[in-house]
């Protein structure tokens, strides 16, 4: 059990405090964007392209304008008059808001109908007639790089191909040399397919422009309200939207997972319409629109290679990635890292030669890609290294747990410099894997497996021992559109000793209202119950880059601790004044300062705060407030050891996850209940891509599973019963030793499942199947490998 320094009443770190935010959600009092209703509000619906690639010959709005309640139909040509028909992406690429002549992917926004009711807007949408001239889309990212492929981005002057960028890390020559001389080389082509976050709340907004005061309030589903405010000012500054007159409000958010980081055309159209008509405009997308048009995740084609000795020592790895970004690079990565943090792909293992190179390409698919509950592109990296590690173990006939133990970076070797340039802060990988093996009963399971295999039954055990990289990030390397990736906290303690704290991040279910209060409670001794946490309103909260990539605790959580410590410094001064002693004679114990050697002489934090308003020392600023903008010195490197046990029905290929043990190490834990909850959720979002989810397109660019009828989000039936636990290796550079956890399971989970399935199938010589691994793929692989031949 986690050790707590504070009492349950204070509720500092380590307490499984029940969540403060739950009261409203369980009583129907949450406040999501679609719950907002403003006087005179108009409704927007969007006409979308049925084609993946087509010229727009005409848009006929005549019938639509006859629909009762329809006010106007906005096209790209209308926006062009205000130069609002294009916008930048977060990766400094460009994206149409509405097209003037060509559509580039199926479900792309073509025009928007504005009406006095939701139903009238939909009727208007149905009445708009668009004439298209379809063209042959480019759907295969490999073929897109063919010199003969048509150039898709003809809007970019001088663009002669579909290549977006090249990026690399590591030492190419050194790695090549190690590969040339290695005993064993493993090489595997893998596809980490295109998937979708499917937060249960879709995206939407209410744009409310006040023509009299030239002020925009933008209520929207965003994980990064402050950054969005700046983006709006940059995109629409030329029409008079000045940043001091823009307020972005992110109300309760019904799940984000990365999908609510980008700026989608719908938001911009709503702002433009509100700006023009001076009325609030609501846009809430349907699930199908969300699934078909909003940012996808993943879609990396990876050639992964590993070089090792026949004794099982990993010597080098090499990765070549082809990233299919669709119509535009609308990813949400830090500017200097177009491949995200994929270069964490050397994993938890001790070797010093690696090379990663990647190319990104345009196709006629929807733009992206965001993370899916994962730090920037780390899931793709972990899938590659953990699959390779298992393949290596299999190839040389060594147990995969033993091989991992042999190759782990040792706990005394931290900080550890990775061959791709990262400095891992801390870790104890051996302890994590040992604990997972003990909990699952590894040796007994291997014995059972051998017996089952002898009887022809299929049972597999899969391991994943991953290192995450989160908490972006240090300002020397990390920015989005030039804005450094710090984050912030502002704490105001009221005269009666109760506080409000505001942050630059934005919870979408992570429980910030509870955990941030616990951090402040830990540092100041004010009960967490008396600390109100507020996020998401750019008029009141300090600037920050938002919540994604498991960055909130590493950045804003750190800011909360540092701001609290600033307040404690002030409290010491006030206490010295009140007790008439020198500051050096005081000692801090949670919630009070006392005189060394005379503990009966003390002042509680509440007494001190009251004095800050009623009896502060002359010459000192009154009040009890502090703000901190935290620039992390390094990223944090959470890790985990996951073991999955599967049973497979040989005849049908049906896969049953019998056990799944997850041991996470996220450093010091703020609230074990919430951390465990995050692990549960992340694991279900691991089984999802491992076994069920993939956005599938045909050659004409049609999505084949663009609704929740056929895009398989796991239900309670598909979701296994998770067995969770932890080890604790604090981050040495983080003020409270925490590392972040929300995404570790999504990152580490899929390869554990894939490795277990392949382990079960390995007696037939099957070495790899791309995720999602479905019963059909299993059956097909078994058939191809002669499992049904008699």
């Amino acid at each position: 059990m986690t050790q707590c320094k504070t009492s349950k009443e204070i509720g500092g770190m380590g307490h499984s405090l029940k969540r403060k935010e739950d009261a409203r959600f369980i009583q129907g009092k949450g406040h999501y964007v679609d719950d907002i209703k403003l006087p005179g509000m108009l409704y927007m619906d969007i006409v979308r392209s049925p084609y993946a690639y087509a010229k727009i010959k005409s848009i006929n709005i005549e019938e639509a304008m006859k629909v009762p309640g329809v006010i106007t139909v906005v096209t790209g040509k209308d926006l062009e008059k205000y130069k609002l028909h294009w916008m930048p992406t977060l990766m400094s690429d460009t994206q149409m808001v509405l097209p003037t002549d060509t559509v580039m992917y199926q479900a792309q926004e073509v025009c928007a109908v504005i009406a006095t009711s939701k139903y009238a807007a939909r009727d208007g949408r149905e009445a708009v007639k668009v004439e298209y001239e379809p063209m042959k889309p480019v759907m295969d990212p490999f073929k897109s790089l063919d010199p003969a492929a048509p150039v898709l981005r003809t809007d970019k002057p001088g663009k002669k191909d579909n290549h977006i960028w090249h990026w690399q890390a590591g030492d190419k020559e050194k790695t090549a040399q190690v590969f040339a001389n290695a005993d064993v080389v493993i090489k595997q082509q893998m596809h980490i397919p295109r998937i979708h976050v499917v937060s249960i709340e879709t995206c939407g907004c209410v744009a409310d422009y006040d023509k009299v005061n030239h002020h925009l309030t933008m209520y929207m589903t965003t994980q990064a309200p402050h950054a969005i405010r700046t983006v709006i000012a940059l995109v629409a500054g030329h029409v008079g939207l000045s940043e001091e007159r823009i307020r972005v409000v992110s109300p309760d958010i019904g799940g984000g997972f990365g999908g609510k980081v980008p700026v989608y055309p719908g938001y911009v159209i709503a702002i433009a319409v509100s700006f023009l008509v001076g009325k609030p405009v609501k846009w809430i997308e349907d699930r199908s629109e969300n699934l078909q048009a909003d940012s996808f995740a993943r879609d990396y084609h990876i050639t992964a290679e590993l070089a090792g000795t026949k004794e099982g020592k990993i010597l080098a790895t090499r990765f070549k990635v082809l990233a299919d970004h669709g119509y535009t690079d609308a990813a949400a990565n830090p500017s200097k890292f177009p491949l995200g943090l994929f270069s964490i792909c050397t994993g938890s293992y001790d070797y010093n030669a690696a090379f990663v190179e990647a190319d990104a390409v345009y196709t006629n698919k929807p733009p992206g890609g965001v993370a899916y509950r994962c730090s920037f592109r780390v899931t793709e990296a972990v899938q590659a290294i953990e699959r390779l590690t298992d393949m290596f173990a299999k190839k040389i006939g060594k147990d995969p747990a033993e091989l991992r133990m042999q190759n782990f970076i040792k706990k005394e070797d931290f900080p550890w410099h990775s061959p791709t340039g990262w400095i891992y802060d801390s870790g104890n990988y051996q302890a994590g894997l040992q604990k997972a093996m003990d909990v699952v009963g590894y040796a007994a399971l291997r014995k059972e497996q051998a017996e089952k295999q002898a009887r022809g039954e299929l049972m597999g055990i899969g391991i994943s021992t991953f290192t995450e990289i989160v908490g972006a990030g240090p300002s020397k390397d990390f920015d989005i559109l030039g804005i450094k990736m710090f984050d912030s906290a502002e704490i105001r303690v009221h005269p009666t000793g109760k506080a409000i704290a505001r942050f630059g991040t934005k919870s979408q279910g992570q429980g910030h209202e509870t955990t941030y209060a616990q951090i402040i409670a830990e540092e100041l001794g004010i009960p967490a119950e008396n600390i109100q946490v507020e996020e998401g309103d750019t008029d009141t909260a300090p600037y920050g880059l938002g919540t994604y990539a498991s960055r909130s605790t590493p950045t804003a959580g750190a800011a909360a601790a540092v701001a609290s410590r600033k307040l404690r410094d002030k409290a010491r001064k006030i206490a010295a004044y009140l007790l008439e002693v020198s500051e050096n004679d005081l000692e801090w114990e949670t919630g009070k300062f006392f005189v060394k050697g005379a503990p009966e002489k003390s002042k509680t934090i509440q007494e001190i705060v009251f004095a800050a308003y009623t009896n502060h020392p002359q010459g000192m600023e009154a009040g009890f407030e502090a703000t901190h903008y935290y620039d992390p010195p390094n990223l944090t490197f959470p890790s985990g050891a996951y073991i999955c046990v599967v049973d497979i029905d040989k005849e049908t290929g049906a896969i049953h996850i019998r056990r799944f043990v997850a041991i996470d190490d996220c450093g010091n834990i703020i609230n074990p209940m919430i951390v465990q909850g995050q692990v549960h959720g992340g694991l279900t979002q691991a089984v999802a891509p491992a076994m069920y989810e993939e956005l599938i397109y045909d050659g004409e660019g049609n999505i084949l599973n663009g609704t929740l009828m056929d895009y398989l989000v796991p239900t309670a039936v598909e979701s296994p019963k998770w067995e969770t636990g932890h080890t604790c290796t604090p981050s040495p550079h983080h003020p409270i030793g925490a590392k972040g956890v929300g995404e570790s399971p999504t990152v580490g989970g899929p390869p554990a499942i894939a490795n277990a399935i392949i382990d079960a199938l390995s007696p037939f010589g099957i070495t790899h199947i791309d995720i999602p691994i479905t019963p059909y793929k299993v059956w097909k692989a078994l058939k191809e490998h002669g499992a049904y031949d008699k």
């Binding site: 009583q27 249960i200 799940g255 349907d286 699930r287 279910g509 692990v679």
Partner: protein, 168 residues
């Protein structure tokens, strides 16, 4: 052509004139301003809009307001009086961390309300199948199942299971 209907929502009768095509979920959210009932999809897949219609859980996105004429509806707002006491399920969800973002929660709770009304001692397997028409993207369902088991114990007047996380 508007149709006159009378529906009792959370024990209050409402006389409304609605378009025949108006979905029940829009009646609840837009006409009655009860925004605790959510919309998460357009294919009756997610269950965020689940309410009780004459005590039976239904997805209110796939039923017309006129079909509710003369019937009684319970939404999340009607389960417990404002300020409490909470129902065993509401309490169970809070005590067992059965929610993260809260968007699926009202639908989950109403679905589980019917489930426990029919069987106040379900197995874990019965609960998982019972809520399989309701999607949650945040929690991984384990704590939702735990919350429902907690509520069922409370309804039977038995000792409550531990709400401590099994996080070894």
């Amino acid at each position: 052509m508007l149709k006159k209907i009378t529906v009792t929502v959370n024990e209050t009768p409402h006389h409304l004139e609605v378009e025949p095509r108006l979905l029940l979920v829009h009646m609840i959210r837009e006409l009655l301003n009860l925004t605790g009932t959510h919309i998460g999809c357009d294919t009756t897949s997610c269950g965020a809009c689940t309410i009780l219609l004459n005590g039976k859980s239904v997805k209110s996105c796939t039923i017309l307001a006129v079909q509710a004429n003369g019937k009684s509806i319970t939404t999340i707002e009607g389960l417990a009086p404002e300020g409490g006491p909470l129902t065993p399920l509401q309490e169970g969800f809070k005590e067992n961390h059965g929610l993260h973002c809260g968007f699926c929660t009202p639908g989950m709770i109403l679905r589980a309300t019917e489930l426990l009304a029919r069987n106040n001692n379900p197995t874990e397997e019965e609960i998982r199948w019972g809520i399989s028409g309701n999607l949650c993207r945040c929690t991984g369902y384990n704590n939702i199942v735990k919350a429902i088991l907690y509520a069922s114990a409370k309804m039977r007047g038995e000792a409550l299971p531990s709400t401590e996380p099994e996080f070894v």
